[in-house]
């Protein structure tokens, strides 16, 4: 009996949190944007950025999912490794599926001139020159990044408790403060913005090693986690 499959099945039983709720949230936000577009008769281009809602949702969802399913899985005598692999696979499947739908909607959006009302919702401004594969890649990588970022933060909490998170966020805050102070002191902010405006596609590529790092960290933390 493959227990990773058991973990996958466990997640699959909770379609609400993984599939229905994020799309209800996203489509609701989309509907509002369409209504606004209709009301102003498409006379202005709208680039709403509402697509971010599904990504923020996934970041929060994985934290809730892990907090609830990890103790349950260990209680069912599942290995931590199997839990990690099964949950990662679920994130991969959901990211792959969601990205396919996002890609489809972004293509429809381009073909229909922004749903007939010049609405840019699924197709982001910089995406117009990109191939469908590159678009899909961006949707997919960003979602995986959100999942594993949420996963690693929850794993810190699982392993080191609330105090672990306090220490983690304090250190992060300190690093950011020092970094931003240094940037101001050496007057490098403009350089950074210019660099980003030329290399923003590179940012997505750089998320791939980040995802790997988050995943390895999460796995290491969960291996030493206990439940009671």
């Amino acid at each position: 009996m493959n227990r990773t499959a058991g973990v996958l099945k466990m997640h699959w039983r909770d379609k609400w949190v993984w599939i229905y709720v994020p799309w209800v949230v996203l489509l609701f936000s989309f509907a509002i944007n369409v209504i606004i577009g209709v009301l102003i008769n498409g006379q202005e281009n709208i680039n709403s950025g509402g697509i971010a809602s599904i990504y923020v949702y996934m970041f929060i969802a994985i934290a809730i999912v892990q907090a609830q399913t990890f103790p349950f899985s260990l209680g069912m005598n599942i290995r931590r490794t199997d839990y990690f692999i099964g949950t990662s696979l679920m994130c991969l499947l959901v990211s792959a599926g969601s990205s396919a739908i996002l890609l489809l909607l972004s293509v429809v959006e381009d073909l229909s001139d922004g749903w007939g009302v010049n609405l840019g919702y699924f197709s982001l401004p910089f995406m117009s020159d990109l191939s469908p594969i590159a678009r899909y890649g961006i949707f997919f990588i960003v979602m995986m990044h959100m999942f594993f970022l949420g996963f690693v933060i929850t794993s810190i909490h699982r392993r080191f408790g609330r105090n672990g998170l306090y220490v983690f966020f304090t250190v992060m805050l300190l690093l950011c403060t020092i970094g931003s102070f240094a940037m101001t002191y050496y007057e490098r902010w403009m350089d950074l913005f210019i660099w980003i405006s030329h290399h923003y596609l590179g940012l997505f590529v750089w998320m791939i090693p980040l995802i790997v790092v988050y995943a390895l960290l999460s796995y290491g933390l969960l291996r030493r986690s206990t439940v009671s």
């Binding site: 103790p71 349950f72 599942i78 931590r80 009671s228």
Partner: protein, 297 residues
């Protein structure tokens, strides 16, 4: 003699608190064990360590001859039902059973559904909305239907009414007879399970006090019932655990094995010898009075 669990000098400390102190014991195949002790004695901690959900501070243990940590050969033969088990918020009883079915190799779905009916559980209700007793019933069902070679129940009866508890004992004995396996029951309702238990491990303050067959333990003490004068004569100078008298009658419990001569003496004095309940014995042994200290009478 077929040990499936071997624990050797297990210790668990939290900072300066020692929860488990040099605990060693062996669990043999196809027996029903009772892990008894007061609240906070360390029962639950030991079971968490056995199932690799907690890590010991020192000491080692083998379950089915191997270390249980991240080991599917061990974990797939285990089922640990604990009172504090948490379930995902969205899960209904039917979801828990479905997940259990896909995880436990020996799972018997028909039997599980039969038990759901016996315990009168609403299959479609969310775990969050269940009463304490119903929650315990779900645990009992998962534990029995998993048919795991080593099934561990930690306080399985919390919130169960007398009818449901009896049902549990009945089903456990029934299924044990049909599919022999090893059970470890931890509880403080000692009297109710004492007939079930074949072997008792008694823990107090993180240490093992007793590790013996249940029958052996029962013979460690006896209760003499008879006329006060005669009873006093028989029990003079012995370790008296408990004593009460009504009118001229006296009931005295003595911590001592009764030999043939004493039995004959009791008979000639007209004293009735009654076996001591496991509960009485354990209350005495783990009471604040200290081990084996003579009770003031």
């Amino acid at each position: 003699m077929n040990p499936i669990v071997e624990v050797n000098r297990l210790n668990k400390t939290y900072g300066k608190d020692t929860v488990i102190r040099d605990v060693s014991f062996v669990i043999e195949q196809n027996k029903i064990y009772g892990l008894l002790g007061r609240n906070g004695a360390g029962k639950t901690t030991i079971m968490h360590i056995l199932t690799a959900q907690l890590f010991p501070t020192s000491g080692d243990m083998l379950v089915f001859g191997e270390k249980p940590y991240e080991n599917n050969r061990v974990l797939s033969r285990l089922c640990f039902i604990k009172e504090s088990q948490k379930y995902p918020d969205s899960f209904r009883i039917v979801d828990v059973l479905a997940v259990a079915a896909s995880i436990y190799p020996n799972w018997d779905q028909k039997y599980a559904l039969q038990l759901v009916e016996d315990f009168r559980l609403p299959l479609k209700r969310r775990m969050k909305k269940l009463s304490r007793g119903m929650l315990s019933s779900v645990g009992v069902i998962v534990g029995l239907a998993s048919r795991a070679p080593l099934t561990i129940f930690d306080e399985p009866y919390l919130g169960l009414d007398a009818v449901a508890r009896n049902l549990f004992y009945e089903k456990l004995i029934e299924d044990y007879a049909e599919y022999p396996r090893t059970f470890i029951l931890s509880t403080h309702l000692i009297d109710e399970v004492s007939n079930l238990l074949e072997h008792v491990i008694l823990i107090d303050a993180g240490k093992i006090l007793i590790d013996e067959d249940a029958d052996e333990i029962r013979e460690k003490a006896y209760t003499a019932v008879g006329a006060a004068q005669q009873v006093n004569k028989l029990t003079a100078g012995k370790k008296i655990i408990h004593q009460e008298s009504i009118g001229g009658m006296m009931t005295t419990t003595v911590l001592e094995r009764l030999n043939g001569a004493q039995r004959r003496e009791a008979a000639t004095l007209g004293i009735e010898i009654v076996p001591v309940s496991l509960q009485q014995l354990i209350v005495h042994l783990t009471g604040n009075k200290g081990n084996g200290k003579v009770a003031e009478s």
